[in-house]
Subunit: 289 residues, 4 copies
Amino acid sequence: MNTKVKLNRAKLLISCPEKPGIIWTVTNFLLEHKANIVHFDQHTTNPQAGIFFMRIEFDLEEFDSTFEKLEKDLHVMAREYALDWQLSSNERRKRMAIFVSKADHCLTELIWRWKSNEIPVEIPMVISNHADLKELVEGYGIPFYHIPLSQETKEDAEQKVLELLKGKVDFIVLARYMQILSPNFISHYPKQIINIHHSFLPAFVGANPYVRAFNRGVKLIGATAHYVTNDLDEGPIIEQDVQRINHRYTVADLKTAGRHVEKRVLAEAVSWHVEDKVLVHGNKTIVFA
Amino acid sequence: MNTKVKLNRAKLLISCPEKPGIIWTVTNFLLEHKANIVHFDQHTTNPQAGIFFMRIEFDLEEFDSTFEKLEKDLHVMAREYALDWQLSSNERRKRMAIFVSKADHCLTELIWRWKSNEIPVEIPMVISNHADLKELVEGYGIPFYHIPLSQETKEDAEQKVLELLKGKVDFIVLARYMQILSPNFISHYPKQIINIHHSFLPAFVGANPYVRAFNRGVKLIGATAHYVTNDLDEGPIIEQDVQRINHRYTVADLKTAGRHVEKRVLAEAVSWHVEDKVLVHGNKTIVFA
Amino acid sequence: MNTKVKLNRAKLLISCPEKPGIIWTVTNFLLEHKANIVHFDQHTTNPQAGIFFMRIEFDLEEFDSTFEKLEKDLHVMAREYALDWQLSSNERRKRMAIFVSKADHCLTELIWRWKSNEIPVEIPMVISNHADLKELVEGYGIPFYHIPLSQETKEDAEQKVLELLKGKVDFIVLARYMQILSPNFISHYPKQIINIHHSFLPAFVGANPYVRAFNRGVKLIGATAHYVTNDLDEGPIIEQDVQRINHRYTVADLKTAGRHVEKRVLAEAVSWHVEDKVLVHGNKTIVFA
Amino acid sequence: MNTKVKLNRAKLLISCPEKPGIIWTVTNFLLEHKANIVHFDQHTTNPQAGIFFMRIEFDLEEFDSTFEKLEKDLHVMAREYALDWQLSSNERRKRMAIFVSKADHCLTELIWRWKSNEIPVEIPMVISNHADLKELVEGYGIPFYHIPLSQETKEDAEQKVLELLKGKVDFIVLARYMQILSPNFISHYPKQIINIHHSFLPAFVGANPYVRAFNRGVKLIGATAHYVTNDLDEGPIIEQDVQRINHRYTVADLKTAGRHVEKRVLAEAVSWHVEDKVLVHGNKTIVFA
């Protein structure tokens, strides 16, 4: 949910080795900077000796004067306490590139949530290996780049895409993009590429999940949004959901029904990413939703 | 749902190669036998050349005089039309053996639904490789047999169990029974053994699904009730459901939360089996629920 | 689900007083007309003396030659057996008018499902009491009529709308249309106007359901698609669903979250209506989904 | 979830008018008492001038020496900062009385979760206006009191019950107890009586919700656990859930299906209450689940 974006609000994500007083230290820091805490979420993998995760959403009364100061002081505190941190101001919208192939359901859902300000991002571009969705995308005033791709041209194509993205994009959403990205490409956007897989992972990793779901005779189909890593469909899961089906569903019906789960699950995951509600820990996520 | 069991009601399951007029043929047959159709369900894998499945629930006004006649005439029609059929009268309750190990949640749910007449069966016996649940079971007046089992004694133990069951039991429910049945054992009860697997199959086939769900970082856990075949966790799925979890759940929490899905899913599947709502086709089920 | 519309397929809906042999009679009739039954659904409110409902989907090999004959013969049978019936061929798409005000989420979903052939209808027009969505609608090549409306002009406005619809539209979808239709208007489209109410009816009948849900502190919000009758929010319910919320949701967040349930529930209900899967009985529906 | 109860763990609930530094103040206090925070949840109705709610779960290394000191110091801090607070140690189990009438499904579920240590309470007694469940309850070694009740004897009966409870019970669960408690009775256990209502409130307040759900033709039935106040079925909602039904369900089927939702929803709500995860604010709850 993100109905109305408050501009003088910021979000601080922290992870660090568990140690007594960490909450106090950070809240003290914010208090000194006159930050007013609105939401506070915390998780520890083990209160004795685990990793501590924290998300704080706070308002800044005098934003312009304090945000840079805040960042500078955070650097100091981070060194002292061995914190990993990420600070985002609502003033600066994240920039999201969408990769598509031919299917438009996930794209349409993302664009609708963007237009209705439900997902507060900028969309500097949509990139596709097919030209089919060009008109749809440009109809919304979003630049569309058609970068065809074959097994032989993949390296060049990815290079072209990287150049298009360079400096213009914070994260990438694979909205039913039917290509596997190379490790080199992924290394440019670690934990910043979100994919939607059309199954309830880890069931039906890989190709044709709906055909395999049909053959196995499952009673629910699902979809999984996850960060992309070098291991296909094995990255940290952000969100999953399922939909009840029955023996009457053909493979084609599964695909149709599945589209609605896919678009919903992907849009939720993107929302949380945009609102800095997701922390990655190894191959898992902590989602403060 | 099976709130009140009408005694003069019967259920007819039919499967056969698809051919025009099959519904007419069967309803004509029932009409001639003065059977009043209450529920009629049908499915075809392909209207041109597939397999046709049918479930009819009907009332018989003069039950005593016609049920045997009905069966005899069904034999004749079945030969002529190459039907597989199964006829059950509500007058005769199915006899269910429950196999358990140490966990009691699925057992308790089944017993409660049996006592409250929600699952209208007889329970001639509970069999276990441990003695832990003896008192609980006998407290309900149900015979409990403790048949210990090691890798070496498995064959003998299974033989003993088969003798106990012989002529007394129509189907078997593995209510978190932590042993793998041999192909020989299974061959005595084809499509008549229901297992509950503590994952959303085909995810996490085999041992320790909750540990593996924890490690994979899934956002939903599930349970699957299926008929037992020789391929572990690969038999026809009857029912599945899931439960939302989050990063706060430890493995122990997953086990606790999972119990509630397991018992619900197993009890639903058993209900449908008892009410003759499940037809098996290859490795899949048609469930007329 | 309606992935691929088979053109030589037809659907027959029947309701009549329960009487022995009704299924046989109808299947016999179809057999004589060389209709091959693909799906058969049936329901009775009481097998002894209730109302019987039936939905049959069937293929016609020689469609052109037999459909009119089928209708004529149905008339004869209907008289004899006191049947209410409705026959639809997939060859003729239903024509759906959409009424909107300012919100576009339900409209967008319906248009997407129409464009992707998931809801196989024609959309001859969209009608609104506001001009806001004109550009969106016309972008899809759909005629848009802006008919403003005040308390004083309501009667005239409705008259204008009725003239626009006349002979061009089979049913109407109120896709968050924020006006109450008069009994006179409704009488022109009995059981042919579908509304989406933004609550889990009968909770929060009337205005501002999200505000009232917030004040009551419910833990789930819902949406309800129903046929419109003269009693506000009291017509036969076609579909409902809910969405989990928590104490963090403001009224604005409820509205945002609710939109996704609304659009999904409405689109499902419209699908079923279009596929002739809904029968109305008094103030309730039988949905053969 | 409450798989394993750690004994040296405590939970602190705080509510107070929002004011900068409140999180810092409380965490500082805990730090000084060498409390190690394990879970921290927070909510504010309005970051500028609302009410602030906080739940902290923490471990105490030297429990015996510090718990009383902690309470004394909390008193001091509370006065200074106008805090409402509640401190619970896992060492002391809450004492829960269960009130029942004739239905046993909610009772059975609560007892099973208690026996399996999923709900870590003591059950000093079960009280009923009928004798039906006496044997069941006593079979678990729990005292059962049969206090019959008519319109005329209600005042006396409630008096008797209050005496039975006095000093022995912390909170009361109405597990399908079919009597309305008087304002006098309720005043003895403010926010400490949990009821399960067999509908999705505010739909079907009052008697016979399943009959009314059947007549209205809803597509989902529900259950609601709430704290009891003087306004029937109007108290703060703790948890709700729903179950999909269809036109085949009779009223009896709704009751059967509803039992499973009722018992699940009630048990969840009781779990959260026992784990001090529920704060009441006016007629609403904040649930840190």
